[in-house]
Amino acid sequence: MSDDIYREIILDHYRNPRNKGKMPNADVSIHDSNPLCGDEIDIHMKIEDDKIRDIKFEGRGCAISQASASMLTEMVMNKQLTSVKDLTKDDILENIGLTNLGPARIKCALLSLKVLKLGMVKYYADRDPTSAKKLAEDSRAL
């Protein structure tokens, strides 16, 4: 099973994360951690016209959580929030090619999505409370 998880691409994103770093004047910054393992992710975004103009992450944790965050930033860069908003658990797992994780490790793979959703909650809080509420529910379920 581990052979299927720790493939070349995961290790590459783990060791050479894309879009990793600080973003001094981000429009939205948000932090969360996985209480199970202590993995931490910060996501920073610049948003213009409801579009993610730039996204960066900081974090520390396992190969799965960090590779998944790296791949997520690539996935949503320059995307409209309307399309990003509805990203599901399965979208992520398919994107990173890990569809057979156990319940504990799934949390690692989904931490960055959870943080991204929380970031959008923040962004939508005043602009669109209904979306904010739905995103908050979604993130809680992850």
Partner: protein, 415 residues
């Protein structure tokens, strides 16, 4: 899978191995102490056994297979509990040791943040010590006041007194048991909650006696807190449940600090965990929480409506028979529809403790004493009562045996 009609008590009894027990008296066990704790069906005993034999592990914090299995089973009990009382979400279900700890959790975490000098907490004269002492401690600490709703001679709450307390405008919490463990009284919690919510006052329901014996729906009832114990509803000892409405739980400071209830600990500050884990510090009682799921399954399979019907039936019979014994006083509402399967009584000048000893000669387990309700005992002006309490496996024949033993007691005490 829910069954219909009257309970098949004969079949149910087969699921409870202890009911085959022969006692020192040579008599088979007649267990009428269910308000104290119930017996456990084999399914519950086996669930605990299976956990320790096959997948014992600490939970939440490890990725090995045993930990994943144990975590999944533990959390699936939380889902079953949420569904059983119709909570909106598992986030609202906190596992404690028992009803007592659940109420104390509210008193410490919510109470110390929300009760101040001059505030009032309203409880009733029928409360169990577990729903009195935590409020005494809290009100004494905060300079607040504890107020009681009285109980009339038939065991009903004096709702006009409640109204008066509410009118005083200082009430910050109402905490009432839904079923008295002595009188059996089923209290008008819907009215109590409605009246209280009209004034924005939250209500805690002590469900230790109600949740095991009748359908309870937290959304319909709209209570803010509900506390009950697994061991009084076929489950293992060591597991209590605290339901709290999410809006309230989200704003509650933590109670027990330690492992599992935190997200990040730094030297001088801590970020607490998500709901409901924030309120479950340390390694939980994993095996027994898992065992409790089997108890819920068992009750669901019977159906709580049918549990209630069975108890009305046997309680009506018991009230009739016990009430017919010379010298007996029965406490609580005369109408079996207004009470749970609990019959408290006294007979002549026989002290309940002595009566229980005589019962024990006949293999009959009843409880005697103040039943952790001394305030009610003072109100009834008795030192103690005898109490027979029923559950799904009890029969009318067992009530008959109780009557026989009562006659024997009368002979010994020449009444």
């Amino acid at each position: 899978m829910m069954q219909k009609g009257l309970l098949n008590v004969k079949k149910i009894r087969k699921d409870f191995p202890i009911l085959k027990r022969q006692l020192d008296s040579g008599k088979p066990l007649i267990y009428l102490d269910n308000a104290a704790t119930t017996q456990k069906p084999l399914a519950v005993i086996n669930a605990i056994h299976d956990y320790y034999m096959n997948y014992n592990s600490n939970i939440h914090r490890a990725v090995h297979q045993l930990a994943e299995e144990a975590t999944a089973a533990y959390e699936s009990t939380r889902q079953k509990v949420a569904k059983f009382i119709n909570a909106r979400s598992t986030d609202e279900i906190v596992f404690t040791r028992n009803t007592t700890e659940a109420i104390n959790l509210v008193a410490y975490a919510w109470g110390r943040a929300n009760i101040g000098k001059g505030d009032k907490i309203v409880i009733t004269e029928i409360e169990h010590h577990s729903n009195i002492v935590p409020w005494q401690i809290l009100t004494q600490e905060k300079g607040a006041k504890l107020e009681y709703i009285g109980v009339d001679d038939s065991g009903y709450l004096k709702m006009d007194q409640y109204q008066k307390h509410l009118d005083s405008k200082k009430v910050k919490l109402v905490s009432v048991s839904q079923m008295s463990n002595v009188l059996g009284t089923i209290t008008p919690v819907n009215d109590i909650i409605k009246m209280s919510h009209e004034r924005g006052i939250p209500v805690l329901i002590d469900g230790a006696q109600s949740v095991p014996h009748m359908p309870v729906d937290v959304q319909k009832m709209d209570c803010d807190f509900l506390a009950f114990s697994a061991h009084k509803m076929l489950g293992p000892t060591g597991v209590g449940i605290l339901y709290v409405k999410r809006e309230i739980l989200e704003n509650m400071p933590p109670f027990i600090g330690g492992g599992d209830m935190i997200k990040e600990v730094h030297k001088y500050e801590t970020r607490y965990n998500d709901l409901p884990y924030k309120f479950e510090g340390g390694t939980p009682n994993i095996a027994d929480v898992i065992g409790f799921a089997a108890a819920i399954d068992y009750l669901n399979n019977i159906g709580m409506d049918r549990v209630r019907d069975h108890e009305i039936d046997i309680t009506r019979y018991a009230l009739d028979r016990i009430g017919g014994v010379k010298g007996v006083t029965i406490y609580g509402p005369p109408n079996p529809m207004d009470r749970g399967g609990v019959v408290s009584f006294n007979i002549g000048d026989i002290h309940p403790h002595d009566l229980a000893t005589i019962m024990n000669d006949h293999g009959i387990a009843i409880r005697s004493g103040h039943h952790c309700a001394q305030v009610l005992m003072e109100r009834l002006d008795v030192a103690a009562t005898s109490r027979a309490s029923f559950y799904i496996y009890n029969t009318k024949e067992e009530v008959d045996a109780l009557i026989g033993a009562l006659d024997e007691a009368r002979r010994l005490f020449k009444i």
